[in-house]
């Protein structure tokens, strides 16, 4: 249970970090931010990076600000930054509610938002949030900067569109409209444990009917994603039990569930139905 030896690099600027990353990317160089996912897999020797680039001393990566359209979240913004609302936009209330479900308090003190996305665990609450809301990922390397849409970013279990020499420097989340409704529900067997299925929903109400519905499902498939079939079952309907049950059933039918030693596909498909319905019910509270 001890990590294998590695060389630690401690850049002070983003440019230094990218320069080191470009040098060591080919030798299994990895970014170390909060370390709350990376260090456990190193302890199990599932990961044995030869180089770790510790970005905890890099200036400016804790930037967290809103320009009126998007909330920009820097690479070292920790989960605990969202314990209290970070802006007066409705998005902040959503993030505060979701953040409470991430692991445990001491983990949230260290773990980072961007690190969670770069790690891309299927059960990650922030990955679900990014996929549901349509986040933009800002990937930087010495070769340049590019923006990646959330729908193109997640490529499977712990697999993303980031190249080996790219740092996820920032994630941008679109702000919500003042009247936006949101709901979230996560199922796990123990408080703080990995979600076996989770759902995040948002919509607005136009003349009492749901519009621009987004239904995200995480923890059930290799990557979190929006479920169009469920969204179609909501748009134009009143936010009531019939619509919620129809959307939940549509989501359950649409997913291709992961299986593991404790959950078969049928069970997880049923969980998807439950978490989507409960997330939708939460949107009314």
């Amino acid at each position: 249970m001890k990590p294998a030896p590695f060389v630690r690099h401690v850049p002070r600027t983003l440019q230094q970090a990218l320069a080191i990353l470009s040098q060591v990317a080919g030798q299994d160089g990895r970014i170390l931010a909060g370390g709350q996912s990376l260090v456990p897999i190193m302890a199990f020797r599932l990961a044995k990076p030869a180089h770790l680039i510790d970005i905890n001393e890099v200036a400016g990566l804790d930037r967290l600000e809103s320009d009126g359209k998007v909330l920009s979240i820097g690479a070292r913004v920790r989960h605990a930054a969202f314990h209290a609302p970070v802006t007066d936009n409705r998005l902040a209330a959503l993030l505060t509610y979701v953040a409470r479900h991430i692991a445990h308090y001491p983990i949230r003190m260290r773990g980072t938002f961007c690190g969670s996305l770069a790690h891309a665990d299927p059960a990650s609450e922030w990955c679900l949030t990014a996929a549901t809301l349509g986040a933009t990922m800002v990937a930087m390397s010495q070769r340049g900067t590019r923006e990646i849409a959330a729908s193109d970013f997640f490529e499977g279990i712990m697999s993303t569109a980031l190249a080996d020499d790219e740092l996820l420097a920032e994630v941008r989340l679109p702000l919500l409209t003042p009247d936006a409704k949101f709901g979230f529900y996560e199922f796990n067997r123990r408080a703080g444990d990995f979600a076996m299925a989770a759902s995040l929903v948002t919509y607005s109400l136009v003349n009492g009917k749901m519009a621009q519905a987004r239904v995200g499902v995480g923890g059930a498939e290799p990557s979190p994603r929006r479920i169009e079939e469920a969204e179609a079952a909501l748009n134009g309907q009143s936010p009531d039990d019939d619509a919620f049950r129809a959307a939940a059933q549509a989501a359950s039918d649409a997913v291709d569930p992961l299986e593991d030693h404790q959950t078969n596909a049928e069970y997880r498909r049923d969980l998807v139905r439950v978490v989507v319905r409960r997330a939708l019910e939460h949107s009314l509270t």
């Binding site: 770790l52 445990h104 260290r110």
Partner: protein, 159 residues
């Protein structure tokens, strides 16, 4: 690859000059290199919380930090809670409410609860319960830990 780095860890206000590999966890360095064995190690992968210490005012898992990352930071462990012969209110409450049996998890629970209550003295009861779900205890069934922390929280708030 096994080169050691010389560094100073400041634990409970005392400096410890040590030399460790980059891969040395803070938990191991506190125990093995600094001799402060009050901090316990359970799972070594961030699940059990036995190794919780306070770093620059934040309760963290010391098995998920590397010792080299803690240089220059103020580390507090269970050895630093009591004031001479007088126990910290949290320690006294754990005794008064039978919040421990074997005691293995206790240093982690103490540092977790003290760390959170120092940051958020007015934390509500539901959130406090959520905080206490961070750590594992195999003896008590948690009820007496919850009682102890609630009692200490009131005392720490000066009621």
């Amino acid at each position: 690859m096994t080169d050691k780095t010389a560094l100073t860890l400041t634990i409970n206000g005392r400096d410890h000059a040590i030399a460790v590999e980059a891969r040395r966890t803070l938990a191991d360095a506190i125990r093995e290199d600094c001799g402060q064995t009050g901090t316990h190690i359970g799972c070594e992968h961030g699940i059990c919380g036995a190794c919780t210490v306070i770093v620059n005012g934040e309760p963290v898992r010391s098995c998920l930090m590397f010792a080299v990352q803690a240089e220059g930071k103020k580390i507090r462990t269970v050895e630093g809670l009591a004031d001479g012969e007088t126990l910290h209110p949290m320690q006294q409450a754990f005794m008064d409410h039978h919040g421990l049996q074997c005691g293995f998890c206790t240093p982690g629970f103490l540092m977790l609860a003290v760390g959170v209550l120092e940051r958020e003295p007015d934390i509500n009861d539901d959130d406090l319960l959520d905080v206490l779900s961070s750590n594992l205890c195999r003896c008590t069934g948690y009820q007496n830990i919850i009682k102890a922390v609630r009692a200490a929280a009131e005392q720490m708030r000066g009621k």
